[in-house]
């Protein structure tokens, strides 16, 4: 084997370098498709948005001039956009908490051994699987100021006083929009949690019971630590989806009344597309980035730490 002898005869350091370079080439070639995929589908749109946000691009122009951070300054000076930013954060946090609570409760119900378990599991995920346009329009009918089914049933059961204008009152409109987001999203949370819970070893739970831990203690000290990775990934997905969800607001209120339900995605659409100011529209959309970045960073770091434990 002259080749092998030639290799063996080389100094160890040279051999190591050649081996490492070869491994690196092989490794990177395996990674390349994923990297290209990410660059094309995530990187290009992101950097294009960044380019737009730093320019005076408008819908009618094919070229644009660099304007630095002028668009960001302009949008942050706009009171209605600051309101949209606040709403976006409040909606995401409140909806996230509600989905967490309801999702957990539902997950506990779904892991119970009952007859028709599969059918029940299929039914509860319907809100999540329905196209958002259909479900949001159905809710719009239920919130309709004249024909509201919620008001009709609520007043007859004496649960509601008067005839609330769900989408016409600032507070109620915010509640209505968040409720639809929660209704659509909590089955997803439940499925994620259920998948995690089914992976919790029963021996651990039995040991907890033997040690006298009640339901909440078992949940806090046994279930949560075990399902934490899944929980964090689910939380990450939900945060991203909720922050960027335009459909519910667009179909229910278009940001009204008086901007009470305006969120950054709807504002970006209004200014970037409908008014044609692409640069400022992109800047509004990118306001989400500094919010999302630390959230994603801390969630992923927490996930990695738990995996190394």
């Amino acid at each position: 084997m002259p080749d092998a002898e030639a290799i063996i005869s080389r100094p160890v350091a040279v051999r190591h370098r050649a081996f490492t370079a070869e491994r690196l080439r092989f490794g990177y070639s395996l990674l390349a498709p994923a990297v290209v995929y990410m660059l094309v589908l995530v990187g290009v749109p992101f950097f294009f948005s960044l380019y737009l946000a730093l320019s005076d691009a408008s819908v009618g122009g094919t070229s644009a001039s660099y304007v630095g951070f002028a668009n960001f300054v302009a949008v942050l000076q706009d009171e209605t956009i600051r309101q949209a930013l606040r709403n976006t954060i409040v909606f995401t946090v409140v909806a996230g908490i509600c989905k967490g609570i309801l999702g957990t409760l539902l997950a506990f119900l779904l892991i119970q051994e009952v007859r028709g378990k599969k059918l029940i599991r299929s039914l509860v995920v319907i809100p999540w699987t329905l196209p958002v346009a259909i479900s949001a329009l159905a809710w719009k009918w239920m919130y309709d100021p004249q024909f509201s089914a919620i008001n009709y049933v609520g007043t007859r059961l004496h649960l509601i006083q008067g005839w609330p204008n769900w989408l016409g009152d600032n507070f109620l409109a915010a509640v209505a929009v968040i409720s639809v987001n929660v209704w659509r999203g909590f089955p997803f949370a439940a499925i994620v949690l259920m998948a995690g819970m089914s992976a919790v070893p029963t021996e651990l739970l039995d040991a907890g019971k033997v040690d006298g831990a009640n339901f909440f203690l078992r949940y806090r000290y046994i279930v949560i630590p075990v399902i934490a990775p899944i929980l964090l990934v689910g939380l990450l997905f939900d945060t991203v989806f909720t922050l960027s969800d335009i459909s519910v607001v667009y179909l229910l209120t278009l940001g009204g009344p008086m901007g009470a339900t305006e969120i950054l995605p709807t504002k970006a659409l209004e200014i970037g597309i409908q008014a044609g100011a692409l640069g400022r529209g992109a800047a509004i959309a990118l306001l989400l980035f500094p919010i999302l970045l630390p959230v994603v960073y801390f969630l992923l770091r927490s996930l990695r730490r738990r995996e190394t434990l």
């Binding site: 408008s58 819908v59 009618g60 122009g61 094919t62 302009a74 000076q77 706009d78 009171e79 209605t80 719009k140 919130y143 309709d144 100021p145 004249q146 024909f147 204008n165 769900w166 989408l167 016409g168 009152d169 409109a173 209120t253 278009l254 940001g255 009204g256 009344p257 008086m258 901007g259 659409l269 209004e270 200014i271 597309i273 409908q274 008014a275 044609g276 100011a277 692409l278 400022r280």
Partner: protein, 448 residues
């Protein structure tokens, strides 16, 4: 030497005769060159075998889509052009137009609708002034609003297609029952609403005060009627802040308090249609599709609805100011089949009779001659007969200036509905106006 030079067909031709014939021939040829082939209804031969893609909205009168598709297809067969028409919901048009330009590919003809951004898109649109001139000449000129829709700095980059009138639709039976006169001013409409609201069962009214297109143009109709101006005629200087605005907003608040349902704070574009269709509303302010949709489901109610004239719009002493939703057709510069696109637009936009009849009077024309009474459809239907008077008084957003990028942003961000919402929900007049003017000034400053 004889002067005979050519012998042809048994006739002698002198030198003078030859020159005369040649001159006539050249003049004739020149004359025919001045006229586009499709001016006489025939498309140029060069477009034969080509294809044409058209992007339009899904019409609120669905039968019109079917008729338009057939019209385009028939034209295509006649001229050996493969025509494809794509219909998309009106809300998706702005994003689609923007994405086609960004991609530099898409449809040859694109419909611009309601929020027409010709002041932004014009560098990428083909100059259609020649077509507009010929159509205008044949149609008795364009109505005053047409240039606002399609022209930038004197050049026509779009060809006006049709506009959607937004009249007042009122209940003849209730007006008669309550002893009210036919509504002829905003004040009369307010009185009718007040009387109706006081009845049992209640028959009040409403204009959207919410984030929707109807809210934008309905309140502008009232404001313009009171003399409010958005800008100077150049569109550069803001003129919103005025005593007329204060007067109009006070009137609007009084109308809200006295005769409207509070549901208007969450109404969308079709809520008022439903309100009229439910039999509650004594009047609404919307396109005629609102009562056309009732025609089959509730013929009795339909027979009790009348479209008011454009003179209803003012308070009486100011002006007629019906604000409409315009549409216009444009051709991208990147279109590879501009000749076919131009030929189709010229044929279709000149065929007003088709547009009026196929849309059952919904598509209002931009050409003056078509307002000669009786107009097709509108002239024979007493319910909508008043629409025949709209040509000279129709306005679009941005009045009296053009619909500039700044005016478009004021519209897109719902500044006017939000200003009204603040006021009707208990805010003080000056505070509400101050907020609104702050928004408008900030928007205009970005386009300086």
């Amino acid at each position: 030497m004889t002067k005979r030079v050519v012998k042809q067909s048994g006739r002698t031709l002198t030198r003078r005769g030859l020159l005369t014939a040649a001159g006539a021939g050249i003049a004739g040829a020149a004359a025919t060159r001045l006229v586009a082939p499709w001016e006489a209804g025939a498309a140029p031969a060069t477009i034969r075998g080509s294809s044409l893609r058209i992007l339009v909205w899904s019409h609120f009168v669905p039968a019109y889509d079917t008729a338009f598709d057939k019209y385009a297809n028939d034209w295509g067969v006649e001229n050996a052009v493969t025509v494809r028409v794509d219909h998309i919901p009106i809300d998706q048009l702005p994003a689609r137009i923007a994405s086609e330009l960004a991609a530099g590919a898409g449809h040859d003809i694109v419909q611009h609708h309601t929020q027409i951004l010709v002041h932004q898109y014009y560098p990428q649109l083909v100059d259609l002034s020649d077509i507009v001139a010929r159509l205008g000449k044949a149609g008795g000129g364009w109505i005053p609003m047409a240039p606002q829709v399609a022209q930038v700095n004197g050049t026509w980059y779009l060809v006006p297609e049709f506009y959607i009138a937004q009249p007042m639709l009122w209940r003849t039976d209730l007006f008669k029952e309550y002893g009210l006169k036919e509504p002829s001013t905003w004040e009369a409409a307010r009185v009718a609403g007040r009387v109706g609201k006081g009845k049992n069962p209640k028959h009040d009214t409403g204009i959207q005060i919410s984030h929707c297109n109807d809210s934008n143009h309905d309140w502008r109709a009232l404001f313009y009627a009171f003399g409010v101006k958005e800008s100077d005629p150049s569109g550069k200087e803001i003129q919103w802040d005025s005593k007329e605005l204060r007067e109009a907003m006070r009137f609007g608040k009084a109308m809200y308090d006295e005769c409207m349902t509070p549901q208007v704070l969450s109404w969308d574009n079709v809520s008022d249609n439903r309100y009229l269709g439910s039999g509650v509303g004594i009047w609404i302010h919307d396109a005629i599709s609102a009562f056309r949709s009732i025609q089959n489901v509730n013929p009795t109610l339909y027979s009790n609805i009348q479209v008011a004239g454009p003179w209803l719009e003012p308070m009486g002493s100011h002006m007629r100011a019906p604000v409409v939703d315009p549409t216009a057709l444009g051709i991208w510069k990147f279109s590879k089949n501009q000749a076919a696109a131009r030929a189709f637009i010229e044929k279709y936009c000149g065929d007003v009779k088709f547009s009026l009849t196929a849309s059952k009077g919904y598509n209002m024309p931009y050409l003056n001659n078509w307002y000669t009474k009786p107009m097709p459809v509108l002239g024979s239907d007493p319910t909508v007969t008043y629409l025949q008077s709209w040509g000279k008084v129709a306005l679009i957003n941005g009045y009296p200036g053009p619909f500039t990028a700044a005016a478009a942003e004021v519209l897109a961000t719902f500044v006017v509905p939000d200003m009204m919402t603040r006021y009707v929900q208990g805010g003080d007049l000056e505070g509400s106006i101050k907020w609104g003017m702050g928004q408008i000034k900030s928007i205009y400053a970005k386009y300086k």
